[in-house]
């Protein structure tokens, strides 16, 4: 046994004497120190609630982060993007913001999105073709600082290009979502929040796995059974290959109630002028009576 192994070092001596790191930091320090095993809840970060309560609980800060890049990896495009993002984008649009789509895989169908709260005059679609054009357009949109949400489909992008976008996103006050293929999961990325988005078996809940976040690693993928209410009525409870479902009629109009309760309704239900007049009359009468 060497003498050095037995001789207590300065550090162990201090630890023996009970000089540990304090269990709890003072309040002003605790706000600025983020421990890797805790969710980062920085006060100065602006977030926009995602509209999915289960997802909000798992996102640092409790929503989609503004001024930051969020990367969404999916195995197949045009599968679940709007279901995931529409509630948050609807909030942005309701407040007067606009949404920029850069090189989406298909044309968005506006009547469908309108029902989710995304007004047609608030959506702008940019048909950039080459990867360089897509990057350039995304960068310009971020630099302008006037677009509330930028959704960019970047199937071919290098890590350093993503880093550059992320740097620009720091000065962009709104949301930035970058859609990339799932096979890029192992590549390094500058985005502080990365999600893998998939689709489960019937009735096709959203499968969201947070790959990277300012917080502890996520144990299990989330399953978000989010469909618009009108669609849910049409979907039978179970579909098995052996028993094809009974076809439901489409003809009785589906109630145009928009989706879940977390979303701002498309049209605010304003009382008609007649009702207001009647109410006023009633109020006056009751005032006289009392």
């Amino acid at each position: 046994m060497t003498p050095s192994a037995t001789a207590p070092t300065a550090l162990t001596r201090r630890m023996d004497a009970g000089l540990h790191w304090p269990e709890r930091l003072p309040e002003h320090l605790a706000q600025v120190v983020w421990r890797g095993d805790a969710m980062a809840n920085r006060v100065d970060d602006t977030v926009i609630a995602s509209g999915h309560a289960a997802l909000d609980a798992e996102l640092p800060g409790g929503g989609w982060p503004c001024q930051s890049m969020t990367e969404i990896l999916h195995a197949q495009s045009a599968q679940a993007e709007w279901r995931l993002l529409a509630p948050a984008l609807a909030q942005v649009v309701a407040l007067g913001g606009c949404v920029l789509l850069i090189a989406p895989p298909h044309a968005p169908h506006l009547p469908g999105l309108h029902r989710e709260g995304l007004r047609d005059d608030r959506l702008i679609r940019i048909e950039a073709q080459t990867p360089a054009e897509r990057l350039w357009a995304t960068e310009q949109a971020l630099k302008a600082g006037c677009v509330s949400a930028v959704l960019s489909w970047l199937p071919q992008v290098r890590p350093e290009q993503l880093r550059r976008l992320h740097a620009h996103a720091g000065r962009h006050p709104g949301l930035l979502f970058v859609f990339r293929p799932l096979r890029m999961q192992a590549d390094s990325s500058a985005a502080p929040l990365r999600l893998a988005l998939g689709l489960g078996a019937y009735p096709h809940p959203l499968q969201v796995q947070i790959i990277k976040r300012r917080g502890p690693a996520m144990a299990q993928p989330l399953s978000l059974p989010h469909w618009s209410a009108g669609l849910l009525k049409l979907m039978p409870a179970e579909v098995t290959p052996s028993s094809p479902p009974q076809l439901r009629p489409l003809s009785p109009p589906v109630a145009p109630t928009p989706i879940s309760a977390s979303v701002i309704p498309v049209t605010a239900t304003e009382p008609s002028p007649h009702h207001v007049a009647l109410d006023r009359l009633a109020a006056r009468e009751s005032g006289i009576l009392s």
């Binding site: 005059d121 302008a144 096709h204």
Partner: protein, 503 residues
């Protein structure tokens, strides 16, 4: 006494590139049929810009003097007006300023300030309220004399020419000159000297030739050398944009379209000796940065037929810029443009956002092409491919103010979130009784919904559609919007098409 401000345009020597260019390049602007030479351009530009505050602007030697008393109430008092005038002037190339009770005094004080210290100013009166009553007038005059007396001889135009002689007489300051006997002074130097002194001291009325804006903006710049590529014209064109923006500011207007013209130095016989390019803006603007960025994007597209010798800039369309109410609280610029949800509540913030958005769309449309920056309006039509009409976004946005958009009529049927540009023909699963296949067998959940429309539409040959839409579920692709077309019984092709995704 009236309220005068004098501004000295600074040399742009801070940018070595610019000054080197300035030495050789000859800019000329047509005003009332006569060309203005380079040295006066800076003053002229500043003068035009000042016309937005008062119509009484005059060029005095190399400086700009303006009388602003009549505008004081509009801009919220003499102090606020002065701050705005000076702020605007300093931002656009003035290097010294002063204000006083007479134009010549203001000029003398401004020159003295620029001699003492770059960028400083001297007050002719310390924000005193100026009244028309004689007593106040006298007080102001005494005060003005106190400020002017210690100034050297070379600051006052009219005195400068006689400065060497006066210096030999022992005069060091304006007070010394005034102390000389008036009769002798008038005989020795002429009446002009006394008149200038009296005008500066506010004892005699001043008369200026007021500056007027040319009705049409047309500025020409002779390039120092031949320029062979269009993007290289940008630097020269930027120098023309400066007076353009000043001219627009003076007119309280903004440009909607402007034309850059160029003359070829040398050209083949079969080509034209000149060329032009019109830049059209999505929304009126007089922001120099925005105009120059837009022009830069446009210049990328231009191929010059031959080397260019000089360029000129012409404004085609202007629009009066609406006077917007200022924000109650001054916000930081980044916050002003903020797209944060809570930042768009004030009308001013919304306006700023809209302007920035239009500028962005302009830029994107120029680089990518107008038909690739798109926005759609919902149309009342049952055919899925005709429910929305995509059009260039810059046009759509500027045409229709956002709040006037009529509420769209949307059918009550389920609507997919993505729509395919062309319906995709689906393969059939021959084993299981002819079910369509898309990433796994499709289970039809709901339907059919018959769409039979378009027979009136003669634009395309196959506009008429007869389709039964179904809601289908695919194991891997989620919910789909598929349709089946009517076929003759003997047709063996697949009748199934995919048209949209409920993503």
């Amino acid at each position: 006494m009236s309220h005068w401000i004098a501004l000295l345009p600074g040399s742009q020597a801070s940018c070595p590139e610019a000054s080197a260019f300035q030495v050789t390049a000859q800019i000329s602007i047509q005003t009332d049929g006569q060309a203005v030479a380079q040295p006066a351009i800076d003053a002229l530009r500043l003068g035009w810009r000042m016309l937005q505050f008062t119509p009484r602007v005059a060029l005095l030697e190399d400086a700009v003097v303006l009388e602003v008393q009549a505008s004081e109430r509009l801009f919220g008092g003499p102090q606020a007006l002065r701050e705005r005038v000076v702020g605007e002037a300093l931002a656009h190339g003035a290097q010294a300023w002063a204000h006083a009770g007479s134009g010549l005094a203001a000029l003398a004080l401004a020159r003295a300030a620029s001699q003492l210290n770059q960028g400083s100013h001297l007050d002719g009166d310390d924000g005193k309220t100026l009244d028309d009553s004689d007593e106040e007038d006298e007080v102001a005059q005494t005060y003005l004399a106190e400020r002017l007396d210690p100034l050297p001889l070379d600051v006052l135009p009219g005195v400068t020419a006689h400065a060497p002689t006066l210096a030999r007489l022992g005069c060091r300051s304006l007070a010394d000159v005034r102390a000389l006997p008036r009769g002798g002074l008038s005989r020795r130097f002429g009446a002009g000297l006394l008149q200038t002194l009296d005008q500066a001291y506010g004892e005699r009325p001043e008369a200026f030739e007021w500056l007027t804006l040319p009705p049409v903006f047309d500025a020409r710049l002779e390039l120092p050398g031949r320029v062979e590529s269009a993007p290289a014209l940008l630097f020269a064109a930027k120098r023309l944009l400066k007076p353009l923006c000043a001219w627009l500011a003076g007119r309280q207007a903004a440009a909607l379209a402007f034309t850059l013209r160029w003359q070829h130095d040398w050209h083949r016989r079969d080509t034209s000796s000149e060329g032009e390019w019109t830049v059209r803006l999505g929304s009126p603007s007089r922001d120099e940065t925005r105009l120059s960025r837009l022009l830069a994007e446009h210049l990328q597209h231009i191929q010059l037929a031959a080397p260019v010798g000089d360029i000129s800039l012409h404004v085609d369309e202007i629009e009066p810029l609406p006077l917007c109410s200022q924000q109650l609280f001054h916000e930081h610029r980044e916050d002003q443009l903020s797209a944060r949800p809570d930042a768009l509540l004030t009308p001013a913030a919304q306006r700023a956002q809209r302007d920035a958005l239009l500028a962005l769309l302009d830029k994107l449309s120029v680089r990518l092409g107008e038909d690739r920056v798109l926005q759609a309006r919902i149309q009342a039509d049952h055919r899925l491919e005709h429910t929305q009409c995509w059009q260039p976004a810059a046009q759509a946005l500027s045409k229709l103010p956002a709040d006037k958009a009529k509420p769209a009529q949307i059918s009550d049927m389920p609507q997919p979130a993505w729509v395919l540009a062309e319906p995709l023909l689906l393969a059939m699963d021959s084993q299981r009784g002819g079910q369509p296949v898309y990433q796994g067998r499709l289970n039809l959940l709901a339907g059919p919904h018959r769409i039979e429309a378009g027979w009136w539409d003669a634009r395309t040959g196959h506009a008429r559609v007869t389709r039964d839409y179904y809601l289908a579920s695919s194991a891997h692709a989620g919910l789909l919007w598929v349709f089946k077309v009517q076929q003759r019984p003997d047709d063996t092709r697949s009748p199934w098409y995919l048209h949209g995704f409920f993503a």
